[in-house]
């Protein structure tokens, strides 16, 4: 019976059965390709984030070194009872240097002494000056003072320098390592949270550089962007959804919005340079121009998402309002827009997040200046966080690499916050 059945099967069935195994294997392989593709995406994301977190975390701490400072009036170049003006202009680096020499008498010759002085940041002078100005009685006394370490000394204390590498390949030399080890064993080094990073502007010295100026610049730029892009975007969306007649002009506007969404951001920078800076002569490097350029860039995003939100409002609200005699404008502003607001806000926040991360157009309008001071308004020269990241990434100093990663972490934290807010709003909107 069995053999009868086998032979009665057509040759096609046999051929198919023979190929089935191969086909199933191919099916499994295909699924695996898919899994591998998804996994590759995950791996890329993980490497990217891990790389930045690993590089950036050390920047949030800073090392301090405790020195015995002898506030010797003679060495500081002031009299025994100096005036405040004299104290402000006194030579504080001299006392730091003599304290270091006293502690490490083995430093002989110019270059060795120079290496010794390089353990302490130049901030030390200002720390001492502020101490003395606050308490002039310190003159002539000795005191233990915690002073900020130089970025290179700090990187050794953080364990980023391997003493086993050849001396010529590293910035921290053998002598400095020996001194730092001595200091560490004597309990004269300490790691603290890096407040400088959040409380100061850019600096040539990695240990003194911070993101405060860039944060304010970003804030002012986004403020201008929001004040322009939000009302204009929402009003444009209202017009296109509720008022626009079907004609050529409306088509032209819609095509333009869709095309602008795909124009490379650097082209908006060229527009800003040629029109706002060159033609209207607005100030260079200012958040005002940056904000205008970014608002033109984010307008398409805001218009497109706002239109979708307005479209999603139920027609019954519309008709009810019109039915009781509201005009079209009253219907939109009193009834449709409040219902669509969460969707509109979600789109705007996403647009703002885009603007916050944008760099290229701002390079065009000169926001790449070296900014130490916090800008006080929208017309002051300033830089923004992504541009600060670009500037630090370009800097040859090793100490800036960890600053760059740390600044990226701050930027990403803001972006996550903004996107999280957008997701929250969308969720609440969906519940209604």
């Amino acid at each position: 019976m069995n053999s009868m059945n086998e032979s009665s099967r057509s040759s096609t069935t046999i051929a198919i059965q023979a190929s089935l195994k191969k086909r199933y294997a191919r099916e499994r392989r295909f699924q695996w390709y898919g899994r591998i593709a998804v996994l590759t995406g995950f791996v890329f994301l993980f490497i990217l984030l891990a790389d930045i977190v690993v590089k950036g975390t050390p920047a949030f701490t800073q090392h301090f070194i405790k020195l015995d400072i002898d506030f010797n009036a003679q060495e500081m170049g002031v009299g025994q009872t100096p005036s405040t003006g004299e104290l402000a202009a006194a030579d504080y680096s001299a006392v730091v240097k003599s304290s270091l020499r006293e502690m490490f008498p083995d430093a002989k010759g110019r270059s060795e002494k120079k290496a010794l002085y390089r353990l302490i940041s130049i901030r030390a002078e200002y720390t001492l000056r502020d101490m003395v100005l606050e308490n002039p009685a310190l003159i002539g006394t000795r005191a233990e003072v915690w002073l900020l370490a130089h970025s290179e000394a700090g990187s050794y204390l953080k364990g980023q320098v391997d003493p086993a590498t050849p001396e010529s390949d590293r910035r921290v030399k053998d002598m400095q390592i020996a001194w730092l080890d001595t200091l560490a064993q004597a309990g004269r080094t300490e790691s603290r949270f890096n407040t400088t990073f959040f409380l100061s502007g850019d600096s040539r010295e990695p240990e003194l550089a911070g993101i405060k100026a860039a944060l304010y610049g970003s804030f002012y730029t986004l403020l201008v962007t929001f004040c322009l892009a939000f009302p204009i975007g929402v009003m444009a969306a209202i017009y296109l959804e509720e008022f626009a007649p079907r004609n050529r002009l409306t088509d032209l506007i819609e095509i333009n919005i869709n095309n602008l969404a795909a124009v490379p951001s650097i082209v908006f920078g060229l527009l800003g340079l040629a029109v706002f800076i060159n033609f209207f002569e607005l100030p260079r490097s200012a958040p005002l121009v940056g904000g205008i350029v970014l608002s033109l860039m984010t307008l398409p995003t805001i218009i497109i998402t706002s239109r979708a939100a307005i479209q999603a409002v139920s027609p019954s609200i519309h008709e009810a309002a019109l039915g009781v005699g509201a005009s079209k404008l009253q219907t939109v502003f009193h009834h449709v827009l409040p219902v669509a607001m969460p969707g509109v806000l979600t789109g705007s926040i996403i647009g703002m997040a885009q603007a916050l991360g944008e760099t290229a157009p701002l390079l065009m309008i000169g926001m790449v200046a070296f900014i130490m001071d916090v800008p006080a308004g929208v017309t002051d020269p300033s830089t923004v966080l992504p541009v600060q990241i670009y500037l630090w990434a370009d800097s040859p100093e090793r100490g800036f690499t960890e600053k760059t990663s740390a600044a990226i972490m701050v930027l990403m934290a803001f972006l996550i916050l903004m996107n999280g807010l957008a997701v929250y709003l969308r969720k609440r909107f969906e519940l209604k």
Binding site: Y24, R26, E27, F30, Q31, Y33, G34, R35, A37, V38, F42, F44, L45, L48, D51, I52, M235, A236, A237, Y239, L240, F243, A244, L252, I253, N256, I257, N259, L260, A262, V263, P264, S265, I266, V267, L270, L271, A274, L296, L299, I303, S327, K328, L329, G357, E358, T359, A360, L363, M364, V368, V387, I389, Y390, A393, T404, I408, L411, M412, L415
Partner: protein, 434 residues
């Protein structure tokens, strides 16, 4: 009979009459103010130049521009008098006088316009006047104006970039730019210097841009497409709900972060890898920039392909599966061919993204323009050159600066063309299945 007096006798709500007065007071005044601000500096310029001695007025345009800037700088107190000649100081005094009277005049005119506007509006306020319709008509125009900004922006981009580019092509012939094989925009400072002319051949930049974009697409298209297929055809609902947003984080990472990652992590890694294999890899290789750019556009390709694959009718899939085809045979022989036009459109959109991307290449690609298709060498791109030419001080009559605008023009039209074709293809594809 209408009753006299009381709110009922008004055509509109009282606040509409108020709105009307406010709009008439504010709008014309703001318009006048904006127009004034737009043209004030150029009128000042004309007036001051006309006051200057004849020999100064006949100076070449760039020297005259510098001369005028010094006058302005002195008037605003930024430059001290030591650097200036007598006629400049006189001109600066004249400039300050005119500027002061201009700002007084501005205030007077703006206030006058506001007052006249208000009076005109007040004259028209009568109980029968249709204030609501009037205000709403104005508002509708305002709304239209807001949406018209999109057109103005495009117009602004085209005109500003075109205008500077035309000035560039008056100095450097168009065919030299389009077909020249060498790009070295170093212009001499003095006209009679040896080797005074830089070369502005666009071909190496185009080749470099295409090379990096090609590497990016070779990374992003297979990964993005396969992920989209897996997520839409195989993955469970839950897996999809978690995976998609996580992969889309890649699209939200700022480009400057990718640039940093490319320049400081990927490029050295690829260089060391190449060295250990005995290959000579440049530290700013096209491969590194392209790889990172590819990572950036994975989610872009993924969500576009996802939309397109989902738009393929279920009936096609069911027919194929009903005939006994396996899932992957259905996908490869039915779904993908059906989705092909849409996927091509998506890839074109991704290509236009890659071509216009700036920060990754500025930070990780090279500066020197080489004619090569070897991804291990350093190449430069259109966007890198725009940034290098324009960052720092610029003078608007130097071919170097103008060249950036010519590149910008090319970039704008290339991306526009790619987008136009892509959107057209995608729309045609969607219509096919509707």
């Amino acid at each position: 009979m209408r009753q006299e007096g009381g709110l009922a006798s008004l055509h509109s709500l009282p606040n509409h009459y108020g709105y009307m007065a406010a709009v008439w007071a504010a709008l014309p005044a703001i318009l006048v103010l904006l127009l004034w601000m737009a043209f004030e500096s150029s009128i000042l310029h004309r007036l001051v130049i006309a006051q200057l001695p004849q020999n100064v007025q006949e100076m070449p345009a760039d020297e005259l521009g510098l001369y005028y800037n010094q006058i302005r700088g002195f008037a605003s107190g930024a430059i001290d008098s030591a650097q200036l000649d007598r006629s400049q100081i006189e001109a600066a005094e004249y400039y300050s006088r005119v500027a002061a009277s201009f700002s007084q005049l501005k205030a007077v005119i703006v206030v006058l316009v506001a007052v006249i506007g208000t009076l005109l509006a007040l004259r028209r306020v009568t109980p029968l006047f249709r204030a609501r319709n009037h205000v709403e008509k104005i508002f509708e125009w305002l709304l239209f104006g807001c949406s018209f900004i999109a057109v103005l922006t495009t117009l602004g981009i085209v005109l500003s970039v075109m205008f500077e580019a035309i000035r560039f092509f008056q100095i450097i012939p168009l065919q030299d730019f389009l077909f020249g094989l060498q790009w070295s925009p170093q212009m001499a400072i003095r006209a009679n210097q040896v080797a005074a002319s830089g070369s502005f051949g666009f071909v190496p930049l185009l080749l470099g841009t295409l090379l990096i974009s090609l590497v990016a697409l070779l990374i992003a298209v297979p990964i993005g497409l396969m992920s989209a297929i897996y997520l839409s055809e195989y993955a469970s609902r839950n897996f999809r709900a978690i995976t998609k947003p996580v992969l889309e984080i890649l699209a939200g990472v700022p480009t400057v972060v990718y640039g940093f990652f490319a320049a400081l992590t990927v490029a050295p890694f690829i260089r060391d890898l190449g060295e250990s294999l005995g290959l000579n890899v440049a530290s700013e290789s096209a491969l590194a920039a392209g790889l990172v750019m590819g990572i950036m556009i994975i989610p872009f390709v993924m969500s576009l392909s996802d939309d397109i694959i989902n738009a393929v009718p279920v009936s096609l899939r069911e027919a194929s599966l009903g005939m006994g085809a396996t899932m992957n045979e259905t996908i490869r022989k039915v779904v993908l061919p059906a989705a092909l036009p849409g996927i091509v459109g998506g890839v074109l959109l991704a290509a236009s993204r890659a071509i216009g991307e700036t920060m990754i290449v500025v930070m990780a690609a090279g500066l020197s323009a080489k004619l090569t298709i070897n991804p291990l060498e350093a190449v430069t791109t259109i966007t890198v050159q725009i940034v290098t030419l324009l960052v720092g001080d610029q003078e608007f009559d130097n071919p170097k600066t103008l060249a950036a605008f010519a590149l910008g023009l090319v970039l704008f039209f290339v991306t526009l063309l790619l987008n136009f074709i892509a959107l057209h293809v995608v729309r045609k594809y969607r219509e096919q299945y509707e």
